[in-house]
């Protein structure tokens, strides 16, 4: 089972920045003199000893960035601040050809710094923004979104797996937070989900796409307590291993108190919760039941994992 919450855009930019860091780092370590000449500080002895250090720093964050982790752009932002400060100090005492080269280099660093800052900032909130935009109702007012996905292979044919999910009123059997889903008109369903503090959140949702055996898409209608949307896709697994099920859910997070309530609804591990829901879905289809142990009597459940009961019967 797998899940994913960061989206493609910032990951791709992170990789580009990683490549830039690698190039700079290698150049600074292999030829500090050349770099010093290029940026117009070849008259300074300090520069020659500092440049390899800066090179080493670049290689340090190159790795995670190349792996597509946009959050590491923050370390680049910090590095940029140091570099720009040093270059600013150097600029004040240089003129002529050196001064011109240094100005060009400073401008280049400033440009990269802007990209770093943008990437780092996007890694924070909007990592889910662009992905959630495709899913969520365009009317939804939201600052950011909880966007989670998970996948599992279920050893049953796609038509059967689709049919079980399409039986919306039975979704609560495997969706831990959903208390009830009942019909509310043609292609419309009323959802009731549990929220912390014994409260519930409710919404009406419409099915916007249903392709038997392949895909179901739904999204909340205006007036929902929490604007949300979801899509689940079914594909035959290779080698007659059943069906690959991929699910993605997005919940709009308005600013302020309401946003905090949405975050609370999902606790600290929204990904794990979707994975657990999917694990229960797989269990029901393959074994006819949700698998329970004395330590985890509810079946797979993120909050129970952190707070197990002893593996002993209870009276």
């Amino acid at each position: 089972m797998s899940s994913r919450s960061a989206s493609r855009g910032p990951r791709r930019t992170a990789r580009v920045l990683g490549l830039a860091s690698t190039g700079l780092g290698v150049a600074m370590l292999r030829d500090p003199k050349g770099v010093a000449r290029f940026s117009g500080v070849d008259d300074s002895a300090t520069a020659l000893s500092v440049i390899p250090l800066v090179g080493a720093r670049e290689l340090l964050h190159a790795g995670p960035l190349l792996a597509g982790r946009p959050g590491w752009a923050w370390t680049r932002v910090a590095g940029d601040a140091i570099d720009l400060t040093a270059m600013g100090v150097a600029l004040s005492s240089r003129g002529g050809e050196r001064g011109r080269r240094l100005r060009t280099a400073t401008a280049a660093v400033a440009g990269l710094a802007a990209l770093d800052l943008l990437t780092a900032a996007r890694s924070r909130r909007a990592g889910s923004r662009s992905a959630a935009r495709e899913l969520l109702p365009s009317s939804a007012p939201w600052k950011s979104a909880i966007d989670v996905s998970a996948a599992a292979t279920v050893n049953r044919p796609p038509q059967e797996v689709y049919a079980r999910w399409h039986d919306f009123s039975r979704l609560p059997e495997f969706m831990a937070h959903v208390r009830e889903v009942r019909p509310a008109g043609i292609g419309r369903w009323h959802w009731v989900a549990e929220a912390p503090g014994r409260r519930t959140v409710q919404w009406d949702a419409e099915v916007v796409e249903e392709s038997p055996g392949e895909r179901i898409r739904w999204r909340s209608l205006p007036g929902a307590d929490v604007e949300n949307a979801g899509v689940v896709e079914f594909r035959p697994a290779p080698g007659e291993q059943g069906t690959e099920v991929r699910v993605r859910l997005a919940y709009a997070q308005p600013g302020g108190k309401a946003g905090k309530a949405v975050a609370k609804l999902f606790g600290e591990a929204p990904d794990q919760q979707v994975r657990d829901d999917l694990a229960r879905f797989k269990q029901i289809l393959e074994t006819g039941q949700v698998v329970r142990s004395e330590g985890t009597p509810e079946g797979p459940l993120a909050r129970r994992m952190a707070k197990q009961q002893p593996a002993a019967p209870r009276s």
Binding site: Q241, R275, T287, G295, P300, A311, A312
Partner: protein, 390 residues
């Protein structure tokens, strides 16, 4: 009921706890007639396996009489005598369909925990931490058996508990260890650890036609048992250099199959090496003391097979991957897929091809489980295997 509970490191107690109840339609409740302490239970006892909770009921080797069944179980009846496999398997997922029961995709409700540590989750296991499900074990008067329509083997012949009890784990585990070596005529097989699983690996290597079988341990009484099981040679690693001795025995080739039946708490005869891994495990810089595995890799013949059935939990240090890669070795491993071996091994017992009772050294009432754990761990009184009677 009375049950053996893990109360902390080096501390087990037999206490009164509530009786188990059916939680699912495919459950059965078994009244236990015989259960055993497994070498792998000692890893729990010694505190090597994470995610244990105070009060967890131990034990994954057990058998008994069915006293209650859920309405989804049609192949068992109240009164049936059954042996229960230690892996819990659903019988319907892709892994189960391929016979890989110990990596059942549905039976561990705490799969998310295992995925964090191991990438993917194996099956659920009775009485073996919350990482593999948080299921109560069978060192008790009763146990709930999930997927009772898939796991338990009905015993209908006139065989004693002692003859069939070890089908629950150690006999299939030892057998799979030998089977994974793909033994062909002329093969030499070496087995690290002459505990219960190692002894069954020796006996299985014999059944599968190995030419020579070398047992390696540091306890004379266990090496004697190994000879009884079919070992042609024994090595006491505190007295000889194992690598030299194996080269000598095989005229320089090394054993074709090397079975690690020792696992994560192995010891090393050189004090410095032993201290190195003890220190690293003490500060959690590694979680295993993998001396047997390192040696099995180094000893194995070029192109040979290293078969790991000793239990490992996490991360090891100084793994001789160069030896493994450059010499075309094959590593095969896994928790035993007990379900696949139940019937064939049961028939071998019934036909007298193997008598598993030879390794039982102690039979105690359930209430003396704490004493059993201590004796087994400290190898007191030539302890090889403790059977408990609830």
């Amino acid at each position: 009921m009375r049950a053996t509970q893990w109360m902390g490191k080096n501390h087990v107690e037999v206490n009164e706890v509530p009786d188990p109840r059916l939680l699912n339609d495919r459950d059965a409740i078994v009244q236990i007639t015989s259960t055993a302490i497994c070498g792998s239970d000692l890893h729990l006892y010694d505190g090597f396996i994470p995610t244990m909770k105070k009060g967890d009921i131990l034990g994954h080797e057990f058998m008994g009489e069915v006293v209650e069944i859920g309405k989804g179980v049609s192949n068992l009846r109240v009164g049936d005598r059954v042996v229960v496999p230690f892996p819990i398997a659903c019988g319907a997922c892709n892994a189960c369909e391929r016979g890989l029961f110990s990596v059942c995709e549905n039976s561990n409700p705490n799969a998310g925990m295992a995925e964090k540590l191991w990438g993917h989750s194996p099956c659920g296991i009775f009485g073996y931490s919350h990482l593999v499900g948080g299921y109560p074990g069978g060192q008790a008067e009763y146990a709930r058996v999930p997927f009772a329509d898939v796991g338990p083997l009905k015993i209908e012949d006139d065989l004693t508990d002692e003859q069939v009890l070890f089908l629950s784990d150690i006999l299939p585990t030892g057998y799979m260890g030998a089977e994974m070596c793909d033994i062909s005529p002329g093969d030499v097989v070496a087995v690290w650890g002459a505990g219960p699983v190692g002894l069954f690996a020796v006996a299985s290597a014999k059944m599968l036609g190995a030419e020579r079988i070398v047992a390696i341990d540091r306890f004379g009484y266990r090496l004697d048992k190994a000879v009884e099981a079919g070992a042609t040679d024994v090595l006491n690693y505190e007295e000889v250099d194992v690598l030299d001795a194996l080269k000598e025995l095989t005229a320089g080739r090394g054993p074709d199959g090397c079975i690690d039946a020792a696992g994560l708490e192995a010891t090393h005869p050189t004090a410095a090496v032993d201290a190195y891994d003890r220190a690293k495990t003490a500060v959690m810089a590694e979680t295993e003391r993998p001396h047997a595995l390192r040696e099995a890799i180094m000893a194995c013949r070029n192109g040979g097979t290293v078969s790991i059935i000793g239990v490992y939990g996490g991360l090891m240090d100084k793994f001789p991957v160069g030896s493994l890669m450059n010499r075309s070795l094959t590593v095969r491993t896994g928790q035993a897929h007990v379900h696949r071996y139940l019937k064939p091994l049961y028939e071998k017992i019934r036909d007298g091809e193997i008598d598993p009772t030879f390794l039982i050294s102690h039979t105690l009432p359930l209430d003396r489980a704490p004493e059993g754990y201590r004796m087994f761990r400290d190898k007191e009184d030539d302890c090889t295997k403790v059977v408990l009677k609830p």
